[in-house]
Amino acid sequence: MKRLVSAAIGVAALLGLSAAASAQGAYPNRPVRVVVPFAAGGTTDIFARLIADKLSQSLGQQFIIDNRGGAGGNIGADAVAKSPPDGYTLVMGTVGTHAINASLYSKMPYDPLNDFEGVAFAAGVPNLMVVNPKNVKATNVKDFIAEAKSSTKKFNMASSGNGTSIHLSGELFKQMTGIEMPHVPYRGSGPAINDLVGGQVDVMFDNLPSSIEQAKAGNLRALAVTSSRRSPALPDVPTLDESGLPGFEASSWFALFAPKGTPPDILNKLNAEVRKALEGEDLKRRFAELGGEIRPMSPAELMAYVRAEHAKWAQVVKASGAKLD
């Protein structure tokens, strides 16, 4: 239904434009489709909608959100990789679609490094190491490691699914500390947090926004954030890097990409508009509420960042044995 509506809007807008006989004007002169490779209502969707709304205002054309979920985001990202590189189809990529999945899936329908052009970095969201306060005595990471190593009953680590940034942050933690924690995957963060609060599992490296309120209410205890800097949302919680795991950095991130071959002037124009929108008071506040950290990057810097992330996660995936064959 929504697709029908958006198609109808698109057709109507096209007719209107051709009637005005100015179809060859500057980009954009017709609605732009922003593919969100996950379901409506998730973090990727929310970031995409907030930015699309601002772009629609500043560029005078509708930026329409098209949710095409499935296969860890691969279906939606693949659709954009194979779209014409004219700047009218973009994708809100994530650490999953553009860094982790390539090492995880044995058959990738697209190449995240060579099938896309970077448009703009949207936000990085740290993960939060939270424990059940009844099952875990430790109040800091050092004690947690000691407790995990001493106790005969090993801790269980929950995640929102195999190969997600939540799972792999935990795997990276296990690799760097050498402690053993069986991985208990759930379908999404909600049910996992439910069981963590209920004490069925003991620890999780959840995306910050979905567990920050539980930590503030005392249902969970936050031990550390996984980003390289402390989160402004939780200034008292140390980073893992500070807590004796130097170099630990694992964030979820979200960025706009266009198909390979999209003209540089379109990329630069979009990059400038997205950055302007993100620096406005409105989005700054909304992103901060969601735990999102804004990092201005040019299209080239974004692709360099993606390559670095790609290499980092490839190692973690390989060492963890999480590969999907």
């Binding site: 697709r3 929310i46 439910n194 590969k323």
Partner: protein, 515 residues
């Protein structure tokens, strides 16, 4: 008690309050915006939910963007309205054309559609609306009064308890079967087999996907249900054109009679209770509500053979359970900020988009939102009754349309509905494929309902079994050592014994007769 009344007062104040709105051409006018949004949500939800295969999750996902323009309270009231509307719309499709929009309306097809075939479509729709309204009212008061303490129930349910609950659910499926128990068990197993298609949650291994990407997330429930029920039903109707019962029968009464109401009163009460309790459980416990209610009604009935032949209790109970569960599944979201199922996860997204971070403090931080939503649930249920009772006449008249015109329209709406959910052309092919399978099953005397239940519960059962075993380090005793889990397993065994005993006895009698 005084608190409760004050809180509900705040809630109803929010719902009915006048809000100044800038209307172009009229200037700023105070209008009861929230109540209008509630009405529009229920109406749009009903209309979209009637599309075959489009259940609440798909409806909310589609309509989510239109709520972005309103303030958070108004937007959430509207979304809640869409939710109940879509849920009720799904029941309408289940009764009229035998296509369940989502797992919880599978049961409604069993007797609801049979009633429609016997010219009692209006009565079935009416009792569904009345049962839903009653269940909704009770559940709303329930949430307002004891929502917070009940949250604990959601927290004691871990993977082991969940697995045992699903075992109990599958036993319900056996009891629910109309004919041969052996065939029912076979169908459940096929359903479980279908549920294993897709990416393995724990290892990431692709199972039975044949390398096809669209299968990597498994088979969509709507695709399976629409094929096995909707398309198969069309094939079956076309196959014996003489008895196109849906069309030929007189329309009969539009609304339930006093006798119907009397027959339905107790099933509605029981359904409300069962559905309400199961709705609180995390991870889609509400799915079991209608099945449990149906099973209990069938067990309690003086003549269980009427079930599957258009017994009104088989519609009243499950529909009440369905709606009670839909309401109480808000409890974990409202009190803890944890979404128990896909619909509630969308609600979390909507809250976040509007700048409200869902969590345990929503109740104290945004009291007008919290109590406004609870009050709007009650208002939403009233709206549904107001919208749907007059529409029953319209729906029933649709059945008078000659079948040769009707079935292409149903097929077309099925295709549009299923394509709009995932935008995958393969989904459209698959409803055709499952339609053929469903037709073959009907011809060989197998029922599709246990298959669907096996499909829904199979995935939950497998995942929770594996989670429970990871946590217990592979110790099977965990299912018996945990008290809640043990009780559920005992109930399952007793139910199974009760279901199997009569048939064993019967076959023995038959043996004697042969002698």
């Amino acid at each position: 008690m005084g608190d409760l009344i004050a809180n509900l007062g705040l809630g109803f104040g929010t719902v009915f309050g006048l809000i100044p709105v800038d209307i172009p051409g009229l200037g700023v006018v105070p209008i009861p915006l929230n109540i209008l949004l509630c009405f529009v949500g229920c109406l749009v939800g009903t209309l979209v939910g009637v599309l075959p295969g489009v259940g609440p999750v798909a409806s909310i996902a589609m309509l989510l963007p239109i709520t972005f323009k309103f303030d958070p309270t108004g937007a959430l009231i509207m979304l809640a309205g869409i939710y109940y509307g879509a849920q009720y719309g799904g029941s309408t499709t289940a009764i009229l054309v035998n296509i369940p929009g989502e797992a919880t309306s599978v049961v409604t097809t069993l007797d609801g559609h049979q009633m429609a075939r016997r010219g009692r479509a209006g009565v079935a729709l009416g009792i569904a609306a009345i049962g839903s309204f009653f269940a909704g009212c009770v559940a709303t008061v329930f949430i307002a009064a004891v929502g917070a303490p009940l949250t604990r129930l959601a927290l004691i349910f871990g993977p082991a308890e969940y697995f045992s609950l699903m075992v109990m659910g599958l036993v319900f499926a056996v009891v629910l079967a109309r004919g041969s128990i052996l065939r029912a068990i076979a169908m459940i197993l096929v359903g479980i087999l279908f549920s294993t298609v897709g990416t393995d949650l724990e290892t990431g291994q692709e199972r039975m996907t044949f390398g096809m990407q669209f299968l990597s997330d498994g088979i969509d429930f709507a695709v399976l249900a629409m094929g096995l029920f909707g398309v198969a039903e069309i094939l079956r109707n076309l196959d014996h054109t003489e008895v196109r019962d849906v069309v030929k029968q007189a329309i009969g009464r539009l609304l339930p009679s006093m006798q119907d109401m009397k027959d339905s009163a107790k099933p509605i009460l029981r359904g409300t209770f069962i559905g309400g309790i199961l709705g609180i459980l995390p991870g889609n416990g509400a799915v079991l509500g209608p099945f449990a209610s149906y099973t209990i009604e069938k067990k309690l009935a003086k003549d269980p053979r009427r079930f599957g032949q258009g017994a009104i209790e088989g519609v009243a109970g499950p529909e009440s359970a369905n709606n009670a569960g839909a309401q109480t599944s808000f409890i974990p979201l409202l009190t803890l900020g944890i979404p128990p199922n896909a619909v509630m996860a969308l609600m979390v997204g909507a809250m976040t988009i509007h700048g409200i971070v869902p969590g345990p403090q929503v109740m104290t931080k945004n009291p007008s939102l919290f109590w406004g939503m609870i009050a709007s649930m009650w208002v939403g249920n009233l709206m549904l009754l107001i919208i749907n009772l007059p529409m029953i006449g319209l729906w029933v008249r649709l059945l008078k349309v000659p079948y040769r015109l009707m079935f292409p329209a149903i097929l077309m709406f099925c295709s549009i509905g299923i394509y709009s959910i995932n935008s995958l052309p393969t989904d459209v092919f698959f409803i055709g494929l499952f339609g053929l399978i469903g037709y073959a099953l009907i011809k060989f005397g197998f029922e599709p309902a246990p298959l669907l239940l096996g499909f829904v519960l199979g995935k939950l059962m497998e995942e929770n079994l594996r989670r429970a075993l990871i946590i217990s380090r592979g110790d099977m005793m965990t299912f018996i050592e945990r008290p809640v889990s043990a009780v559920l397993l005992v109930i399952a065994i007793v139910m199974l014994a009760l279901a199997l005993l009569p048939s064993i006895r019967k076959s023995r009698e038959e043996v004697f007769v042969d002698d």
